[in-house]
């Protein structure tokens, strides 16, 4: 591409109808295996097997298409999705390469065709992978035990509030400990899960240095504090050096401390949650550990120290030695090679566990992918990935300094930021009327998919949050930066072009008026037809 004018890109526009508008009555995309005559004879008329009050009377109005029509339709839709085909520096989500090997291994029947309620003896291989990844995450965090049941980072936060309830209830203190403290820049799921669990939420604002202050924390906590839920670094790439004092303060009043490791990429291999005093932490296997994000299925791997371990949800995968004792090698990595006859893997229900936050062991394909990623990277590779993430992020930062209209969040914080940083287009907006959303749209005209703006609330006006991780090449990052600079320059010269973007995308900009209007929103085709009979 040309650095000055951007890539000559245009999105695929198939003008694809809805699946409901395709096909023809009577057409089939799949056939169901027919029942043998003896089965049919024995069972009789299938509908007679259901009492009349429970039978479906009107067939569902589903489309009728051939197999190829369905495949082609969804291929068109996939082509009408930009995603990672360009350069996507979607911050806070740590876009990584999802190794093709992992995708193919988890397509094997040994993963796909396994029922979660199979007897342990039949799933030793999978259980061993779970156990091995548990050991890996213990080493990376210093925690004593991990579970993979939560279906994402927010679900891991939910597990933490469930654990917090169980821990304080066990001490008879839960009724008096009904407050969870978090910070305004922690991911919304921390505050939201705490509130959903019935806790009061006390939020600390950002003060000097772009951080919530230790004094504010100390004023917020008391014998009513159940838990602290924080991330570090935050999405501005600012690290809280007082975190040790934070944890100590919360412990001194009897609260638990949860480290939301959403931003682990900047610190992996550099520090460990348990070493900083945390009681529990969470890793996202679907971003940090190379499993696909794609809005799930995902895993929020939740780890905790021994003192909380018996509250974990079951079942836990435990290695049992010949002597019948768990963890035959302790929490060490000298785990025997697979198939050693003197170790078996069993499922154990913790004594006072919180039950389940989701059915079964978790999204095991993602566990397999994460384990594969760890082995592909090794300890040195993981450390290098962290170095690169921070290096590239600071390179982006350096280049953004010269882009007119862009400012850095918390400009008074002069240090290098970690693996990402949030920037503001407020200046651009004030001077040209072109805001972050406009720039986002215009960049897609050059094959660069949307950047992440910011979690709520928008502390930084007109925000954008790039994060390159270790995946993207310097050339990719340069292309991204060139396009951003080009669009910002365009905002000064031809603001209307940016404001009315996109011009080379699948569709024009939404007229979102209907989205929150009960008379016009339509989350299904049947609702749409009912509300807009003319169309």
């Amino acid at each position: 591409m040309s650095g000055t004018r951007g890539r000559r890109y245009h999105a695929a526009v198939w003008d694809e109808p809805l699946v409901h508008e395709l096909g023809h009555p009577g057409r089939r995309g799949a056939l169901v295996p027919g029942v043998e005559s003896e089965v049919a004879a024995a069972a009789g008329d299938p509908l007679a097997l259901v009492s009349p009050t429970a039978r479906r009377r009107v067939p569902p109005a589903l489309p009728e298409l051939s197999e190829w029509e369905v495949l082609r339709h969804y291929l068109h839709l996939s082509q009408q999705t930009l995603g990672m085909m360009g350069v996507s520096l979607f911050g806070t989500c740590t876009m990584k390469y999802n190794p093709a090997l992992s995708e193919s291994l988890t397509s094997l029947p040994q993963v796909r065709e396994v029922h979660p309620l199979q007897h342990e003896d039949t799933v030793q291989g999978l259980l061993e992978i779970v156990y091995r990844l548990d050991l890996v995450l213990r080493e990376l965090s210093g925690m004593d035990r991990f579970v993979f049941q939560p279906g994402g980072g927010a679900d891991a936060a939910w597990l933490h509030v469930c654990m917090t309830r169980a821990y304080h209830a066990d001490r008879g203190e839960l009724a008096e400990r009904d407050e969870v403290v978090t910070t305004i820049q922690a991911h919304p799921c921390n505050a939201a899960t705490a509130a959903a669990a019935g806790f009061k939420v006390i939020t600390l604002p950002l003060e000097e240095g772009g951080r919530a202050s230790l004094s504010a924390l100390r004023s917020a906590i008391s014998e009513r504090t159940a838990a602290l839920m924080v991330n570090n670094p935050d999405d501005m790439g600012i690290y809280n050096p007082d975190i040790g004092d934070w944890v100590e303060s919360v412990h001194s009043v009897g609260g638990l401390c949860f480290y939301d490791h959403a931003n682990f990429n900047g610190v992996m291999g550099k520090l460990r949650a348990a070493d900083l005093g945390f009681d529990a932490c969470m890793f996202m296997l679907h971003k940090t550990f190379g499993a696909p994000k794609g809005n799930g299925p995902a895993v929020g791997a939740y780890g905790c120290t021994e003192r909380l371990a018996h509250y974990l949800p079951g079942p836990l995968v435990t290695a049992i030695g010949l002597d019948g004792k768990p963890d035959p090698q302790g929490a060490s990595f000298d785990l025997p090679a697979f198939g050693r006859a003197d170790v078996t893997f069993r499922l154990v229900e913790p004594e006072r566990g919180v039950g389940r936050v989701r059915e079964y062991l978790g999204n095991l394909p993602q566990v397999v992918k994460a384990y594969a990623w760890v082995r592909a990277m090794g300890a040195d590779g993981i450390g290098e990935a962290s170095d690169l993430s921070v290096l590239v992020s600071n390179y982006i930062d350096a280049r953004l300094r010269s882009v007119r209209g862009v400012t850095r969040s918390n400009p008074e914080v002069g240090t290098h930021r970690l693996e990402m940083c949030r920037y503001s287009l407020e200046t651009l907006a004030q001077e040209t009327g072109v805001g972050a959303v406009d720039v986002q749209h215009r960049m897609t005209d050059f094959g660069i998919d949307a950047f992440w703006l910011s979690h709520e609330p928008w502390i930084v006006p007109e925000p954008f949050t790039p994060e390159a991780g270790e995946l993207w090449s310097k050339e990719d990052v340069d292309e991204w930066l060139d396009v951003l600079a080009l669009v910002c320059a365009e905002a000064y010269e031809h603001p209307e072009v940016v404001r009315t973007a996109p011009h080379r995308q699948v569709t024009h900009r939404l007229d979102g008026g209907a989205l929150d209007d009960p008379a016009r929103w339509a989350t299904t085709w049947r609702a749409y037809r009912a509300k807009r009979p003319a169309s």
């Binding site: 009061k200 939420v201 003060e207 917020a220 502390i459």
Partner: protein, 422 residues
């Protein structure tokens, strides 16, 4: 039927910013700003807003009722929108009185919305003229924009105006439209005469601390140290009044820079209802000024004075717009007293100069636990720095008022805010 938009520009607004003045809201400041080389900001910014309005859907139905000459007509003429002139005179230079007269004329002509360009001073002038007879929407063009009537950018003002007019078009004429409107506080750093309904705008109305200190008065030092002064430092914001504004779905008003739609409206009502339901029957509650605290009274079915201190107990209003002596009299009658405060304007003012009723004599009767502070979360999040202020020397002598305090932002939700003596 077409929609009418009143439109007026304070042509000298914003000129002071880049030359180190905190506004041009007096004639003297405007002259000074020109002398220092300030250039008009408001015409350009208001042109951007109108261009946006003109290019929006439904613009064909819109007629602009413009104030004459530099106060609107010049900008409106090149906007592409249909324009009618308001029948008012304009001085040269223009004055606060001209602003007020034009605003009143627009309201009188039946405008659906009054779009004005300026800063807090302009907003105060407009509000004094039209009150809540017509919704207001500010195009940010001043130096100080702490009032809740301003959109974040000129374009956002254009969008919001267009959206509001389109929504109006969907409801029958004459219908009451509470769902389309909300209220916003107008604040200004101005002397007490505003508090009393005066709208004197002349050069002698210099009550505010910064001006008393002579910062603005044309000294060379002030010029040399001039910053692009969006943060002029602690100043007393006074709540001038409450305006009607179009309700923005995406919260693009200054002071609600977050994109959450839980601004104002329903979230605060939920909080107010919770606070109202938790009031202790044995306690006298003093309800401080502002729209947030007035929602608590509203939840009780009461209406006090949004600018003053009211008192309520057992669901009854026992005092409206109380003086210090009246408050003290009431406090003596009840076993316990509670104080409910809101955060005024975009600068985090908890107690300002307008609240002298809540002076040391009253505060000495209270303990920290007696004080409840309420705010929408957005208002707190927009504060830079994240500070609440108590701006009165005497009040600041009550150390328990300052330091970190919990601010209730919703039922069972708090923000931990530092309160400083300003």
């Amino acid at each position: 039927m077409g929609r009418l938009v009143g439109f007026l520009v304070n042509p000298v607004a914003g000129m002071g910013g880049r030359v180190g003045l905190h506004g041009t809201d007096t004639a003297a400041r405007a002259v000074e700003a020109r002398r220092r080389g300030g250039s008009p900001v408001a015409p350009l910014r208001s042109a951007r807003a109108l261009r946006r309005l003109a290019s929006s859907r439904g613009a064909d139905d819109v007629t602009v009722l413009a104030a004459p000459a530099s106060m609107g007509a010049v900008v409106a003429a090149s906007s592409g929108l249909r324009v009618r002139l308001l029948d008012v005179g304009v001085g040269n230079p223009t004055s606060a009185a001209d602003t007020a007269a034009a605003a009143a004329a627009a309201a009188g002509a039946g405008a659906d919305l009054l779009l004005f360009a300026g800063g807090d001073g302009t907003a105060a002038d407009v509000l004094s003229a039209v009150g809540r007879s017509i919704p207001l929407l500010g195009i940010p063009a001043g130096v100080k924009m702490r009032s809740g009537v301003f959109a974040a950018t000129p374009e956002a003002a254009g969008d919001l105006a267009a959206q509001h007019l389109r929504r109006l078009a969907r409801v029958p004429d004459g219908e009451v439209l509470p769902a389309l409107l909300t209220t916003a506080e107008v604040v200004d750093a101005h002397p007490a005469d505003r508090m009393h309904g005066g709208r004197s705008h002349d050069a002698d109305a210099l009550g505010e601390r910064g001006r008393r200190a002579g910062e603005w008065a044309g000294s060379d030092r002030a010029v040399q140290t001039a910053q692009p002064a969006v943060e002029p430092g602690p100043m007393a914001n006074t709540l001038i009044g409450v305006a009607l504004v179009p309700r923005a779905d995406d919260g693009r008003l200054v002071g609600t820079k977050s994109s959450t739609s839980l601004q104002g409206g329903t979230a605060l009502d939920t909080l107010a209802e919770a606070v109202a339901s938790e009031l202790d029957p044995e306690t006298l509650y003093l309800v401080g000024p502002g729209t947030t605290t007035s929602r608590v009274l509203g939840a009780l079915g009461l209406e006090g004075d949004v600018l003053g201190v009211d008192a309520v107990t057992r669901g009854e209003l026992v005092g409206v717009d109380l003086s210090e002596d009246e408050i003290l009299g009431l406090v003596d009658e009840y076993p316990r007293t509670g104080l409910i405060l809101g955060v005024i304007g975009g600068q985090g003012m908890l107690l300002g100069r307008g609240n002298q009723q809540l002076g040391p004599r009253v505060l000495s009767r209270l303990s920290p636990d007696d004080v409840t502070i309420l705010s929408s979360p957005d208002k707190l999040v927009a504060l830079r720095p994240a500070l609440l202020r108590v701006d009165a020397g005497d009040q600041a002598s009550f150390p328990w008022l300052t330091g970190y305090r919990r601010v209730r932002v919703a039922p069972r939700r708090y923000m931990m805010m530092r309160v400083d003596a300003a």
